[in-house]
């Protein structure tokens, strides 16, 4: 009966200085040290992109690793965030690239006479930034409300989120007079806030991304330490049981979906800044499923784990992308690796590190806060 669970890292004691937090601190330090190792600005820009993906994977780890919600449409809030930023930056491009009255070029090509109403507020950068977080969050929260109030669970959540992603993707491609269609929104201005220009190939952009990532990682950690985080884990474990203690399970799941989407939207905005365009490929199925891979490889139950997973996988991909054969082979290796991780390492690299750490210090029963170490103070079976 008492079979030990597969992923020791997923239970955590209640002390504050957990391996998870130590991981986050190391990760943040590594992020800021990176520019002193990478001298080339081009490399730094590439590296910033991977950090954005890290943020995206971390957002998924909140809803999937903690809440047990397998959201296959994680690219949807990401893409929406990126479009919000792109719309604002498009309206700021110098007049040469836009049509009469500041109408974006692609609208002119599509015979649009007047700026559509939903574009107008994006003249304000503040509005755009708020929208880039709120719109994705509201949409995913709404989708969560639709699913979880109707008690859609398990694989059907995966299908619904994936289908929703495809619907929005199709619509964005279809409505090209408003969205730029297949080409997306290109030729953007550079983001300027308080006189600081965030050039994609400049360290300011890198520091912006690294700082946002650090803040969000700490935020995610604090969130996971609240009672809300604990209840989420209980829901992941035994969803049916939690409601009999009086918790409204659906609203917990809706909330975590919305929070995760807000972070994804934020990541999407940063991605537009570093890529200098927005495209329907930012919210397509391959990207969305890739996020799941990153998360699984790094460790879905660990926020820094998922983050590092994304950076490692996309980093490798980027390094090999010079040659088509390399990239194809890499995708193959990735597929095999992913299957192996799902099979043998359900808690990912983070879980592996956790197991190794537990082996290294088996006698150390007490954590820094005097809490008893879950893994070592008890025999595997107390039957």
């Amino acid at each position: 009966m008492s079979k030990p669970p597969q992923s020791p890292l997923r239970q955590r004691a209640t002390g504050f200085w957990q391996p998870e937090l130590i991981g986050i601190v190391i990760l943040i330090a590594a992020m800021y040290l990176m520019p002193s190792v990478l001298v080339d600005d081009f490399l730094i820009s590439k590296y910033s992109r991977y950090l954005v993906f890290g943020l995206l994977a971390m957002a998924l780890s909140l809803s999937w690793g903690y809440g047990g919600i397998l959201n296959l449409g994680q690219a949807l809030p990401f893409g929406l965030g990126s479009y919000c930023m792109a719309m604002a930056l498009k309206l700021r491009t110098i007049p040469v690239q836009t049509g009469a009255d500041g109408l974006p070029d692609f609208m002119v090509w599509n015979n649009v006479q007047q700026l559509p109403w939903f574009w107008v507020p994006f003249y304000s950068m503040t509005f755009a930034i708020v929208a880039g977080i709120v719109v994705p969050s509201a949409l995913m929260g709404g989708l969560g409300w639709f699913m979880f109030r109707g008690r859609v669970t398990g694989v059907f959540v995966a299908i619904t989120t994936l289908a929703m992603l495809v619907v929005v993707n199709l619509l964005i491609i279809d409505q090209q007079q408003y969205t730029g269609g297949f080409n997306g929104i290109t030729d953007l201005a550079q983001l300027t806030i308080g006189g600081i220009v965030f050039d994609a190939y400049n360290r300011t952009t890198f520091y912006l991304i690294a700082s946002v990532a650090s803040v969000v990682l700490v935020f995610g950690y604090v969130l996971s330490c609240t009672k809300f985080g604990l209840i989420l884990q209980a829901i992941r474990d035994q969803e049916g049981r939690v409601q009999y203690f009086g918790y409204d399970v659906a609203s917990y799941k809706i909330t975590v979906m919305a929070i995760s989407a807000a972070i994804a939207g934020l990541a999407g905005m940063l991605y537009t800044i570093v890529m200098e365009f927005a495209s329907p490929t930012f919210l397509n199925v391959p990207l969305s499923l890739s996020v799941v891979i990153w998360c699984a490889v790094g460790g879905r139950g660990s926020l820094p784990g998922a983050f590092v997973g994304a950076v490692l996988v996309t980093g490798m991909q980027g390094a090999l992308s010079e040659s088509k054969t390399f990239l194809d082979t890499w995708t193959l290796v990735m597929g095999v690796l992913f299957v192996l991780v799902v099979l043998f390492l359900p808690s990912g690299l983070a879980g592996l590190i956790g197991q190794l750490l537990a082996k290294i210090r088996p006698g150390d029963g007490h954590g820094q806060n005097g809490t008893v170490d879950v893994k070592s103070s008890h025999p595997k079976e107390i039957a």
Partner: protein
């Protein structure tokens, strides 16, 4: 009248392809409960097998079908044995694992057969068309309709009229109890999965002359197949048939009235709503509370 008939026949034709493509997925999902995201790649394998048999061995499509069914079935059997077996306790992870298998298969095909489009010839005997009440329809489409109907009947009989089917239904009801009565549940599952995979391969081979064959072709099919299964209701082969043809007609009409994009989006919204409001499927009476 002529126009209506034309629409109906188009719908039937789309529907029979859908049924062909969905049958394997429906059987696997309805019994083992695994959402096989590699289903589309099994279809793709079938199509490539048809192309390879013709190109390298000179075997034409129709006699090759048996080989393709057995080959892809064997492959499915291996996937079940090596992989899925370990994941039955973690249903969400089977989605991930089968999707990973799909990625691997796509890449293997891309690296070996190349990423270019391939074409499979229509069997010469079926290149003609037939006139039904004045509406011309390709003979091959009628062939697909007949094959889909036959495969459905065979599958239904296997499930409901053979000892194997009886054992399978017992395992689906309660795996442990069935095992206690001496049924080898492992073997039943592997065989069922292999059968479903074989059907997918067969579907791929049969539709290959109509569409171009590429490593990515499976993605579209798995979505279609999934729609059919969700609409029809899990564990109901009859539901699968009705929903395949219903979807075929609906897609035909919407695509005629609107553009393809809107048709696709509408169908997806329909699926989302069905999952939400009628999780047991459109064509199944509610079974248990």
């Amino acid at each position: 009248m002529h126009f209506v008939l034309e629409q109906v026949l188009t719908g039937l034709s789309i529907g029979s392809i859908l049924l062909l493509v969905a049958l394997g997925l429906s059987i696997i999902y309805g019994t083992i409960g695994v959402i096989n995201l590699a289903h589309g790649e099994f279809i793709m394998l079938g199509a490539y097998a048809a192309w390879a048999l013709k190109t390298y061995v000179g075997l034409s499509l129709l006699p090759g079908l048996v080989l393709i069914f057995l080959g892809v079935g064997l492959f499915g059997w291996l996937v079940e044995r090596i992989l899925l077996r370990r994941l039955y306790r973690r249903p969400l992870d089977t989605i991930l694992a089968t999707w990973g298998v799909g990625v691997v298969l796509q890449q293997v095909v891309r690296l070996t057969a190349g990423g270019d489009l391939r074409y499979v010839e229509l069997p010469p005997s079926m290149a003609s068309s037939v006139s039904i009440f004045g509406v011309e329809i390709a003979a091959y489409r009628i062939f697909i309709f007949v094959v889909a109907a036959l495969l459905f009947l065979v599958s239904w009989s296997i499930m409901n009229r053979t000892t194997f089917g009886l054992k399978l239904r017992a395992v689906v009801q309660d795996r442990n109890v069935a095992s206690c009565f001496g049924i080898n549940a492992d073997r039943i599952y592997s065989l069922t999965f292999a059968y479903g995979a074989g059907l997918a391969g067969l579907a791929g081979a049969i539709v290959s002359p109509l569409k171009s064959v590429s490593p990515e072709m499976g993605t579209g099919y798995v979505v279609d197949a999934f729609m059919v299964v969700v609409l029809g209701g899990v564990q109901s082969l009859f539901g699968t048939v009705i929903s395949a043809f219903a979807l075929g007609e609906v897609t035909g009409v919407i695509a005629f009235l609107q553009n393809d994009t809107i048709a696709k989006a509408t169908v997806l919204i329909l699926i989302i709503s069905v999952i939400r409001f009628r999780p047991q499927g459109l064509f199944v009476a509610k079974v248990r509370a």
